[in-house]
Assembly symmetry: D2
Amino acid sequence: MEDEIHHECGVCGFYGVENAADFAYYALHSLQHRGQQGCGITTFDNGKMLTHKGIGLVGEVFNKQNIADLTGSIAIGHVRYPTTDVGGIENVQPLTFRHHTGDFALVHNGNIINSKELRMMLENRGSLFQTTSDSELFAHLIKKDRTEEHRIYNINEALSMLQGAFSMVIMTTNRLYVCRDKFGFHPLSLARLGNGYMVASETCAFDAVGAEFIRDIEPGEILSIDHHGLRSSHYSDDKHHKMCIMEFIYFARPDSDIEGCNVHTFRHNSGRLLYEECKVKADIVVGVPDSSLSAAIGYSEASGIPYEMGLVKSKYVARTFIQPTQELRSRGVKMKLSPVRSVVAGKSLVLIDDSIVRGTTSKQIVSLLRDAGAKEVHLCIASPKYAFPCYYGVDTGTYEELLGSHYTVEQMREFIGADSLHFLSKEALFKAGNRTDMCAACFTGQYPTEIYKS
Amino acid sequence: MEDEIHHECGVCGFYGVENAADFAYYALHSLQHRGQQGCGITTFDNGKMLTHKGIGLVGEVFNKQNIADLTGSIAIGHVRYPTTDVGGIENVQPLTFRHHTGDFALVHNGNIINSKELRMMLENRGSLFQTTSDSELFAHLIKKDRTEEHRIYNINEALSMLQGAFSMVIMTTNRLYVCRDKFGFHPLSLARLGNGYMVASETCAFDAVGAEFIRDIEPGEILSIDHHGLRSSHYSDDKHHKMCIMEFIYFARPDSDIEGCNVHTFRHNSGRLLYEECKVKADIVVGVPDSSLSAAIGYSEASGIPYEMGLVKSKYVARTFIQPTQELRSRGVKMKLSPVRSVVAGKSLVLIDDSIVRGTTSKQIVSLLRDAGAKEVHLCIASPKYAFPCYYGVDTGTYEELLGSHYTVEQMREFIGADSLHFLSKEALFKAGNRTDMCAACFTGQYPTEIYKS
Amino acid sequence: MEDEIHHECGVCGFYGVENAADFAYYALHSLQHRGQQGCGITTFDNGKMLTHKGIGLVGEVFNKQNIADLTGSIAIGHVRYPTTDVGGIENVQPLTFRHHTGDFALVHNGNIINSKELRMMLENRGSLFQTTSDSELFAHLIKKDRTEEHRIYNINEALSMLQGAFSMVIMTTNRLYVCRDKFGFHPLSLARLGNGYMVASETCAFDAVGAEFIRDIEPGEILSIDHHGLRSSHYSDDKHHKMCIMEFIYFARPDSDIEGCNVHTFRHNSGRLLYEECKVKADIVVGVPDSSLSAAIGYSEASGIPYEMGLVKSKYVARTFIQPTQELRSRGVKMKLSPVRSVVAGKSLVLIDDSIVRGTTSKQIVSLLRDAGAKEVHLCIASPKYAFPCYYGVDTGTYEELLGSHYTVEQMREFIGADSLHFLSKEALFKAGNRTDMCAACFTGQYPTEIYKS
Amino acid sequence: MEDEIHHECGVCGFYGVENAADFAYYALHSLQHRGQQGCGITTFDNGKMLTHKGIGLVGEVFNKQNIADLTGSIAIGHVRYPTTDVGGIENVQPLTFRHHTGDFALVHNGNIINSKELRMMLENRGSLFQTTSDSELFAHLIKKDRTEEHRIYNINEALSMLQGAFSMVIMTTNRLYVCRDKFGFHPLSLARLGNGYMVASETCAFDAVGAEFIRDIEPGEILSIDHHGLRSSHYSDDKHHKMCIMEFIYFARPDSDIEGCNVHTFRHNSGRLLYEECKVKADIVVGVPDSSLSAAIGYSEASGIPYEMGLVKSKYVARTFIQPTQELRSRGVKMKLSPVRSVVAGKSLVLIDDSIVRGTTSKQIVSLLRDAGAKEVHLCIASPKYAFPCYYGVDTGTYEELLGSHYTVEQMREFIGADSLHFLSKEALFKAGNRTDMCAACFTGQYPTEIYKS
């Protein structure tokens, strides 16, 4: 029973880059925070499709030999987020397809909200699915019998049928198609790498391999990359900018820029604005590592209250780590977060966190800090109350358990055990990014699309 | 060719703790930063000595089954630091010994400087060594033929012959002997755990398993823990307090307290004092993650210059990660540190780092930041110039390559490519910890002991 | 460049057997000789489809935990033969499919000779393939939109379209469909296991788990097994008995019975008949282990020439074994077969082998024996000259390299370096099994079906 | 609770052979039957001692990289037999020792019967042991402080103190010392390999790497191999030939020659003689694979009763194989041996086995055969009644459980459930090898040495 919001994966693609898999490896490593369950890379070399994928971190799944075997100058890669209830190796991307009009492979992140309806339609037309992945759904939509040169029309039609969020890279033997849904829910950007091109879910992947940022893929855009260079089209005129606000708040790496806005800067701003809305009197400001540190620094700056390292997070978390049993936990064994006793003892704290999902982690942290001697713990959340489930690719555990959906702020405070509890306003959040064109449905319940409830 | 100072391992011990190996596992995990090459745990259960050890992280070497097999309420554990030139599995501790007067096992960290002389002496007396570990040396010194009740005399005599640094835990079938060298070079502390006792290299291990700190082991102390409880003696009247200053600056976890001083607080103070000595005018303060963040916060507070997250460190570093080749590095591939472009571009920076060893990492970081658009990079080191090799358990790579040993500060600045370069004074460092009784030989060349140069 | 005929896999299925996966594990282990590259098991438990599969031997891929996770009393399993050029994990069976009319899984062995044509037809109708496996092809043929109760009609139609060899088990949530092609190329038998049923490629799997043989699945039969018990139908009136003669000669385990004939007995008979046709005068009879020992015993009995263990085969061949380099081989390093020097030295030998494919192994064995001092080596093959490629599921390496397809017997003898070379006649082979209704196309070129050459 | 006699390991050594580890790898593979728990190789390259060892089969422990890392033209290797109660990785050989007079490594097989006394003596003199291995004991005996040139004297003295069985190879930086106990209990032979030399426990290792047999190491011999060539001496004038008779009966590979006698031939003869002593009337002769097949062939030849393959043994036994639970066994699941139903059904059998230890395996086999329809099962053992424990390196499980030590032949027959039970006489066994100078203490209780009972 984890109390964490999960990423819905990260993708990358390479065209015209010698030994593209070498670069895909380091790019995926820099995107590892978007998914730790599994990963994979597919390349084409002289028309031969080559894949290696597996369960585990990038550094575990790949080795020198299997990377070297992935020859070719065109590649796509994927990291997958961890989940226990869905699928093993068969859901790890890239998914690869064999067809007499040309083999192809694809990777995506996001969530298609009409997938159930589309699957039923496709099955009625004769499709047969082997996975529960939306990538497979999409492959079936575009597989129609046209020559590769006309595949763009299929893709266009296929995308028009999809409702929901997707950032996708399709690779054929000699071309990438890079697509983003018409709301632009999740980031996807383009860069130059040597004489070729690269796309990735976050710009931190460009820095990791020395690529030079060109621009973001636009909502509704289909960018094809081949020996003709770049060709852009749009599958829909109905474009919006509805970037997922949780990308800024929690998911993305602080060194990434999303649609022109640096993630760390966004969080830093949100911390400053949090102080404007909630001027707690306290001895020190403490952030919950790692994602809340930027906001905590902002709060400290704005308030003049010293920023302190009151919590330390272990960085050696192997995938195979043994979780402590309930009995060991009750005897005091903890794993990820430790309080810095001498920093917090006898102090009143402003504790900054990015969000509250089920509230159990917040409850534990407050308890940890009190046990370490904290006099007061004022919990300030650098985002509004998370009260509505996401349908666009964010997994918030069991949705019914969203604490904010059925508790008042005061009830939440009591559950968590903090001395006070404050949330940032939606307006301040928009101000932090200096934009309002974001999807904040998890806070507001205002979904940009129709929702298909099952 | 790494440019990193390496820890000389971490140790822990448990007495009177049911299923002691369960706790040793989490304790070692919290000490993982002191050594990532290998680890091991040994227990006694009804006189039977049980060991599991291996190459890899704690989360890789141990699993539910092999932990469960390590029955017993007495245990010792060890994490070993990575090195390529010395030894494989045979040097991973605990080392275990079988003797008709009773089997025993031991773990230690530190470095014995007269080990070569002692080995020769022991070999001339008939000893035969299977490893290059000082633990084996010590075992041979104490193995003399007395009953276990009198082993304390052997230990006393044996410790008197050792010159150098050691924090050691010896386990017999029903007793722990916990020893620290007479200079107290490296930390070792005692805590209560349930109805039993626990010792560990750092207090963060106590927090990890819910143990309650009692006191530090004293320099020169031999603490025996058995069914009589605690009994303390000293093998030498010639006691000193010469705690390794690098434990505060670099090695220990920020949430650990060493001899009453919190590590984060020490670093935070050193950052404040660094500003007193070196008032750089700049737009932002940036720390090199992770060990320099506390000092950077201190510098920011003292200076009023905003603390910013200008560098991000990847946290998903698997042991099997493929290092980029020189060719890939020249094409821009990097692995551990990424600059936050939008934070540093166009800014003049105070860059805070904890120390400079060979200087190659500093050079790379400055270069990274300039490539990301930094206007000025002023490098401020939160410790003095590292100019003298350590003989007490710190591995500074190839000692001849200590940049500070043959370069002036100006030559170092030029090599590194920074706009300016400043070091904290020794006096300020002592002030940061509010104590002068530390070993700072790496900065001063004043070694507390005689040195046996090979 | 291996000189071996490869099996085309083994299958098993279980219905109404508590913890079916436990039994599947031991059944697959007994079928391991039919495929060593990979293996897998799928079960249904309360409508939930559960799969574990991987690259490696049964004893490597499965462990207590993953077997225990495969709950349910219905299961299918598969072992896959090794090949380097086709596919990784995605071709390992069972293949699993998700459909709104009910999920299903399947395993098969054999080879569909019109698969290319069927794939094209299906792709034109909208199918999309992810593997190169015939199992996937079959799944697409039967996936049509009918309720599960009527799936039998789909299966009937689908099987009618397939040309070639297949032994197949389809598992839905509560039923097995067990099918065998209308020529009955490869074996597939039915047994009772406790209160339930079991099917397997060879009867040795029944013995391995204590199941009681009932009967063989008939050519062209579709046997459905569910809570109604057994229901048999046939998809074709055009039935034949064309059991692959290589199953008797080489593939199957000697303790298996195929269509009423024990494999060891067949081989033993063939050895006796080989002497009738070829009365070599020699000191001893030596068989090439393991598949030729039965024939060698038969030859010895018929001839009165003592049977001797002139060759020994290493049984500790791990999958990861390092093949000796050409340089090491030239210096005398060998791996699998060793001559028993004192048995063969100075003797004239009748060497019995089951077949000759490329001839390179025979050449090496003759050379080994001569180096060990054999005076004469008369090679007697317990089957006719293998001269025609198989299209029904036997992989004979590179087909062009069939020594028998372009060499006379004398040329073969010279290539191999034997003193004489003899083949068993086709008539004798039929006599060994006391039946003529077998497929012997590899010896005769008379294929029972049309051949689609690519 | 296994009912198997275990080998006490196998050794090999190489001098003057370029890339010696390459050859050691294949030699150890051919000796794998002597021990499957663990294995290791140590080389010297320019005075640097290099070791790789681990738990598992040769094909699992070694890979291309770690073999390639073991540079040098001098090497020793070891395979270790499986046992659950003694030791993990620390007992896997070679054991390596570091000494100022020169590092050295050693491997051995056998058992020192006065080891307890020698360990006590050595500990009283100051030795400290880390393992329970006799190799370590021996290293302590020879470690005295002399230059390497005089080490031969130490070895001479050391060997004189050892009582029991040992075949040993000691490697210093540039020399091998090859030693065999004065009774010559276990085999050890010398061969030429290219321009260098090789020694191994069995001659099958010579065949595996293309080495040419020179001679056996003599009882009591110390052979030194270095740049002077071969130099032989003896540590004792009191030499005997007491080769372990179980090497012929059970342990060694049939293609090995032991002291001039081929193992297969010995067994074949014993089968012929068994018929002379025990003329059973039966339909077929069946041997228990693999070690009893030679004797079964001999019995068949002598009797004229056809030799049949009535039992088949699975060859795909991975180390990680899951043993069937008692419940599964009771439901009919079996693993290693399967009866060939159609061969044995309705027949009266002579079943040939090599020996009976606890009798449980024999009982199971008889039961298996009866379940498969055998009418009569006459069990003929190709050796006398095993009634006395071995102290020279053969592990017969729990010694108290030797069925033959407290049961009459008739009681044994009843326990096993055979129709009749016969043992070969000791005289016939000696005749089979055409020699009487063997240790047959397990049959006679006449131990060649004094026994130290604990």
